[in-house]
């Protein structure tokens, strides 16, 4: 490691500190994370021909800018938006930008955990600073070449321009000279004003899409390694069950089946191809030790939750009291790409290829299983065919590592769709007891929300309100009851239940107060940006214009993850069908990096909101999950997707998160719209039409 790299390493660390992130940094040029192997000689030539000012980027002599992406892309578009941020401050030519994914291990800059709509919020400053500091180095190098004052130089589209005579040098031609320039101190780096942005804030197509539409894009499940075997597991039906006896005689008769081994999550059939592994798995005769959970059902879990509801805060005397309970089911993530991982376990080391939201967790998981230091495990982060929180786990990595260890060969473990549906870390089911009160003038005077969440510890401590409304005497209590069903983070995390229930209940309060649900909210909202999106959605939807009989509009809003959103949704209830006719969304995420990405997130969250409002649920019987696949865990398809009208308010705030934000107000607006259309409150999700009649 030469002093240049050491310096840039320290600089990056210092800059990284501001974002609260912990990096393991190394020279960026060793960041090959794709399974494509480069020859050593070629690698050396490449290094000599690169300008590597920091761990996040390099510039080649042909002007190509390569940006290291330390977060996982599961459809939110961060491989594009993170590169845009760096390219902006570098004044790069966007057409010459390439991205390279960082993983864990092997001296890479470190793949960071991705979730909670945090990527842009935590990384934007750092990516911009990396671009800005490299830009200064390129200016210094050019000024030295021309023997002029750097202050007379400017940059545009991948070139340094001498303003005195209009001469310019492309960045690629400065690779050698810029490599000799000291990395500027972080404080001396000046960042652009948003008004000067040329790349950030402009609708930009995703960098991966050309590979996606030709089938060339590499997801975890597409990885093929020399000598690789394929494995599929038989897993227990009930949570907490364990393998008793295994009769694998029939499985071993299937041509292509190589071995059958017990692993932590069940019994793995290792074969020459996926089909032989699936057939082998289906031919296994396994007896299970049933474990302690076989009597657990959705009904017993719900009973447990209801039992722990405590007395609400006392409502002011004389006020009109409103009470309601809401119910949310377990939800699976159901990523389009079922879970999978490839592991190649060698003596004392291991390489993993997988689509993961947590490369570090995957690395530690493999190291623990193998009893080797984490730094001996390399995790290559592939494209993720959906994540939504599911790929933060490392259980699928454990499957592959254990199978590869047993097979003494690289192994790809594929979860079948049924495995994926039945062995998730689920959005927990919850039961919400709500009580509120409105005074004689229609103003709310009390609010109490108890969330009973399966798997949460019982509690009796009411905390802050957790609502965006000014309501005196407001409190929130999270409590629960034990559940053996594994819980995990799902799109918008706790807001999938809490904020949905809040937005349904505020509607009920408005009704009790005899007020319009939009005006009622508007009068109580504390935050001006939230008020603005609410007003915008109402205005766009012609809120005050009545709809035909049988149709109704619902409204709801949400602020979180640094962004603000409101929805108005129109539904028509006819006979035994709820049809969503139109969705209006208004969004303010502050400074948007890629407006195309913002719109996509709103559309996607809308589809998730409609799916979970009207279709999808996971139920429990005999201690396990009842549903299997898309045919009984139903997601929205094209014919049911309404026109989605999005108003993007280009806010003046900081960079907000967008992955989660668009979800919570959708199911709430649907339920509120069904009420507007029918006069019936739907308080159990998913809303079932037969409960309407």
């Amino acid at each position: 490691m030469n002093s240049q790299s050491e310096l840039s390493r320290r600089t990056v660390l210092k800059l990284a500190g501001g974002a609260g992130a912990v990096f393991s940094l190394g020279s960026f040029s060793s960041l090959a994370c794709t399974p494509v192997k480069t020859g050593v000689a070629e690698e050396k030539t490449k290094k000599a021909a690169l300008f590597v000012p920091n761990a996040f980027m390099n510039i080649a002599q042909d002007g190509t800018l390569t940006v290291a992406i330390c977060h996982s892309d599961m459809g939110q578009g961060v491989r594009t938006s993170l590169a845009m941020l760096l390219a902006e401050e570098l004044d790069a030519d966007w057409h010459k930008v390439k991205v390279e994914q960082a993983g864990a291990g092997d001296n890479s800059p470190g793949g960071l955990g991705t979730g909670g709509s945090s990527t842009i919020r935590t990384m934007n400053r750092q990516m911009r600073e990396m671009g800005a500091s490299a830009r200064l180095m390129l200016i210094t190098a050019a000024a030295k070449t021309w023997n002029v004052d750097p202050a007379t130089c400017k940059t545009e589209k991948g070139t340094v321009v001498n303003t005195a005579n209009g001469k310019s040098i492309p960045y690629g031609d400065l690779v050698g000279a810029a490599s000799a320039v000291a990395v500027p101190n972080g404080q001396s780096v000046q960042l652009k004003a948003a008004t000067d942005y040329k790349i950030v804030g402009k609708p930009t197509p995703r960098v991966d899409n050309p590979a996606v539409v030709t089938g060339a894009a590499m997801y975890g499940c597409d990885v093929r390694v020399d000598g690789m075997k394929y494995a599929v597991l038989l897993r227990p039906e009930a949570f907490g069950a364990s393998v008793g006896t295994v009769d694998d005689s029939a499985a071993r008769q299937i041509p292509g089946v190589k071995d059958v081994v017990k692993v932590s999550n069940g019994v793995a059939v290792i074969a020459d191809n996926t089909w032989a592994a699936i057939k082998g798995r289906d031919a296994l005769k396994v007896t299970w030790n049933p474990g302690p959970n076989v009597a657990i059902t959705t009904a017993t879990l719900l009973e447990g939750l209801k039992k722990n509801v405590v007395d609400h805060k006392t409502m002011p005397e004389g006020a009109r009291v409103v009470e309601a309970t809401y119910q949310f089911p377990y939800l699976a993530h159901a990523t389009m790409e079922p879970l999978n991982a490839v592991a190649d376990v060698k003596e004392g080391s291991c390489t993993v290829w997988t689509g993961t939201q947590g490369p570090d967790g995957a690395q530690q998981q493999a190291a623990r299983i193998l009893g080797i230091p984490a730094e001996n495990v390399k995790v290559n982060v592939m494209l993720l065919g959906g994540g939504f929180g599911r790929r933060s786990g490392a259980d699928f990595v454990a499957d592959a590592v254990e199978a590869s260890k047993a097979a003494k060969a690289p192994v790809k473990v594929i979860w079948t769709r049924e495995d994926d549906t039945k062995h998730d870390y689920y959005r927990p089911m919850s039961y919400h007891s709500m009580k509120g009160a409105v005074g004689a003038d229609g103003a709310p005077v009390g609010w109490s929300h108890q969330e009973m969440q399966a798997g949460a510890k019982p509690s009796t401590d009411f905390g802050g309100a957790g609502i965006p409304y000014s309501i005196p005497n407001a409190g929130f209590l999270r409590s629960g009851a034990p559940s053996p069903i594994p819980n995990g983070a799902w799109r918008s995390v706790e807001h999938t239940q809490i904020s949905v229930a809040n937005e349904c209940f505020i509607d009920e309060m408005a009704h009790a107060a005899g007020k319009d649900p939009f005006e009622f909210r508007r009068g109580l909202i504390k935050d001006e940006r939230l008020k603005k999106v609410l007003e915008t959605a109402a205005e766009k939807s012609n809120w005050s214009q009545p709809l035909a009989a049988g149709s109704g509009r619902g409204i709801a809003c949400f602020s979180g993850y640094g962004s603000y959103v409101a929805h108005v949704i129109e539904v028509t209830v006819k006979g035994n069908a709820i049809k969503v006719d139109k969705v209006y969304a208004a969004i303010d995420c502050g400074q948007a990096v890629n407006p195309k990405g913002v719109e996509a997130q709103i559309q996607g969250a809308c589809c998730d909101g409609l799916s979970t409002a009207l279709r999808a649920e996971i139920t429990i019987d005999k201690g396990g999950v009842v549903q299997n696949s898309w045919y009984d865990y139903k997601w929205i398809t094209m014919e049911a997707v309404p026109p989605i009208d999005i108003t993007h308010i280009q806010g003046s705030g900081d960079f907000g998160g967008m992955g989660e934000t668009g979800y919570p107000s959708v199911p709430a607006a649907v339920a509120n719209a069904v009420f507007a259309a029918t006069g019936k409150r739907m308080r159990k999700f998913p809303i079932k039409v037969d409960e309407l009649v």
């Binding site: 197509p205 899409n209 030709t214 093929r224 990523t335 389009m336 790409e337 996509a600 898309w630």
Partner: protein
């Protein structure tokens, strides 16, 4: 195990497989074409869609022994260099998010445009409603199909 000769994207491949091995796994594990994706294995999501003699087919539902001389087209063979009108429209509309279902969506749309070069909204909804996209790119898929049908002039 038996030896089968199958025709994929204009090339003949000899594959040794169990007779009931679905074309999906033949393509992915033996031929090495991974653009055709596994999503459910029961024909419920459309991620594995290919063209068989020009018709839309879920490759997880077609056993290798039943292919015979039929011509298989996968996403890798839809066009020489990614310039099929649908691929171009998909890029113009920036359709993919995670992208995993998109090869299947494009193959489904290709079969639709072959049947109906100028589909109505209802035609599109009906043809594409058996394709799941968990990212919810449906609005853009619809636009991209219309754009491709209009010859990219939209």
């Amino acid at each position: 195990m038996a030896l089968y000769k199958i025709h994929v994207n204009g090339t003949e491949h000899s594959v040794e497989a169990l007779p009931d091995m679905p074309l999906l796994w033949v393509l992915r594990d033996i031929v090495g074409l991974t653009g055709t994706k596994y999503g459910c294995g029961v024909g419920a999501c459309g991620a594995c869609t290919v063209l068989v003699d020009g018709d839309e087919m879920r490759s997880c539902q077609l056993a290798v022994a039943d292919i015979g001389h039929k011509q298989i087209t996968t996403i890798e063979g839809l066009s020489k260099d990614g310039n099929h009108p649908l691929q171009k429209a998909w890029l113009a509309e920036d359709v993919p998010q995670c992208g995993y279902c998109q090869c299947g969506q494009i193959m489904g749309a290709a079969a639709l445009l072959k049947r109906k070069p100028h589909p109505t909204d209802a035609d599109i909804d009906q043809a594409m409603s058996s394709h799941i996209c968990r990212c919810g790119t449906y609005v853009r898929i619809r636009s991209a199909i219309k754009e491709a049908a209009a010859g990219g002039s939209r």
